[in-house]
């Protein structure tokens, strides 16, 4: 078995964050989270539901575009993923643009459902492959969705972790700060600090992000690759075949 490629490490890392989840939903343009969800599903001891937007095979919604949001509000979605053009140290995400609104220096597509799902889904996993001071900023230019809310705000959901191409962080809601848990192979804590625009805490036992074992790699290169190919054929083609 050839060693884990960086993408495979990310898939395995995110899949571990989904342990115990009953229903994970995957939004648009999310091949790595989608693959991670399928990996978590095949590894789960109990039935786990994966809903992938854009899929015909793994999307059983029949009540229109609102059903994802209603379903989350009903408490029937346990995990979801958000990205962002910017993410800051309080886990605020910006999907709208850089600069002064509305005539931004860089206009991004828009907030999608972030301003809602971030509040309602218990485990929101922030995922952004690029790990740089450009993306991980002290303060986002526009808050599409806030990382934390005042106590009077109804908020069963929120950020659980941040996975980038270089490291894994947990988020502490009470402290409103990220904690570095592990660095991916080849990285150091110092390099992560230099690449991160916000301050963060350090776990007591920061190690290297656990690489997937051979059995897990075989799953990624087999059934997971097959499942993700329906919605992301080019992504699947670039995964190492079994």
């Amino acid at each position: 078995m050839s060693p884990a490629a960086p993408t495979e490490l990310l898939i395995a890392t995110i899949a571990r964050l989904l342990q115990g989840v009953g229903h994970v939903a995957v939004g648009a343009s999310s091949p790595i989270p989608g693959a991670a969800a399928f990996l978590a599903q095949v590894l789960a001891p109990e039935a786990m539901r994966v809903t992938v937007l854009g899929s015909q095979r793994n999307n059983d919604f029949t009540d229109g575009g609102r059903e994802l949001f209603d379903c989350a509000a009903q408490g029937r979605i346990d995990a979801f993923f958000l990205g962002g053009g910017q993410i800051d140290g309080e886990a605020n995400v910006n999907l709208v643009g850089l600069g002064a609104y509305p005539n931004l220096d860089l206009r991004l597509p828009g907030s999608f459902g972030s301003a809602y799902l971030y509040f309602l889904v218990p485990r929101v996993i922030l995922f952004r492959e690029e790990h740089s001071p450009r993306v991980l900023v002290p303060k986002v230019d526009f808050i599409s969705a806030p990382g934390v809310s005042a106590p009077e705000i109804y908020r069963p959901g929120g950020p659980q972790a941040l996975v980038t191409g270089r490291a894994l962080f947990n988020f502490d809601k009470a402290k409103r700060r990220f904690t570095l848990i592990s660095v991916h192979p080849g990285e150091t804590v110092e390099r992560i600090k230099a690449a991160t625009g916000f301050a963060f805490d350090l776990a007591d036992d920061i190690g290297e992000t656990l690489a997937p074992d051979d059995a897990t790699l075989a799953l990624i290169r087999g059934p997971v690759r097959d499942a993700i190919a329906e919605v992301y054929p080019r992504f699947a083609a670039n995964l190492i075949p079994n």
Binding site: A28, S29, L53, G54, Q56, F61, T62, D63, G64, G65, R66, E67, F69, A73, L95, V96, Y101, P102, N103, L104, D105, R107, L108, P109, G110, S111, F112, G113, S114, A115, Y116, L117, Y118, F119, L120, F142, I143, S144, A145, P146, S149, A150, E152, I153, Y154, R234
Partner: protein
Amino acid sequence: MVNSFTMSLDTLANRVPHGAMVAVPADYSFVSMAATRALIRRGIKDLHLLAVPQSGIQADLLIGAGCVALVECAAITLGELGPAPRFTDAVKSGRVRIKDSTCPAIHAALQASEKGLPFLPSRGIIGSDLLRVRPDWTLIDNPFPPHDPLVALPALRPDIALFHAPFADRRGNVWIGRRRELMTMAHAAKTSLVTVEAIRDIDLMADEPLAAGALPALYIGAIAEAKNGAWPLGLPGFYEADEAALRTYAEAASSDTGFARYLAALMAEPHAAE
């Protein structure tokens, strides 16, 4: 009433007044690109384009062609082909006004209109800068415990819901299958203009399985046949998107001159794609 709904694509496009608020579905739903091209050829102006809840090439093309004054959306993007260049450019320069929203807020505001309500409350959103840039949204108190603040989203009542569908019957009933956001759009809008792959000699309401996915004629203003009317987008469950044609658009739209050439070709060859 037989046939009174049916008309040509151009006649249907003429039913959209300048300045109308037009609701259109997302790329994963049933987008009428045929009607979009007909509107551009017609020289439609000052549209308030409501993306339900996001849009791609349809919004980008209408914006680039100068048809749009205001776009309301949760996102405009060409998806895996990157940002929507004409949208990005027009919003940055201020040529098009934007009302930034979030997907569930658009769905809920249409449901408010569907229920004849002035607003629908929503959880979430508070603490987002969306609330700051949407002075039309306001906070209310939940009158029940825990008396938390909620966002009141004013009803969105489009003048027109514009979409494509696999087929309709001659009584004006339109089959939309599981694309139920089209039903909410149609209920919320004053009227619906629909292109279809084909008008069939059936009664949609007389067939229980088909009736389950039918939007009744009650909400429909006009229907025009337009074969491959979602092209270059796909019609999920029926045909795939034309990835090469979408890439051609994305590349053309990335520059002013490229887009101008694309638009000129669209104006010159009115029925190339339909």
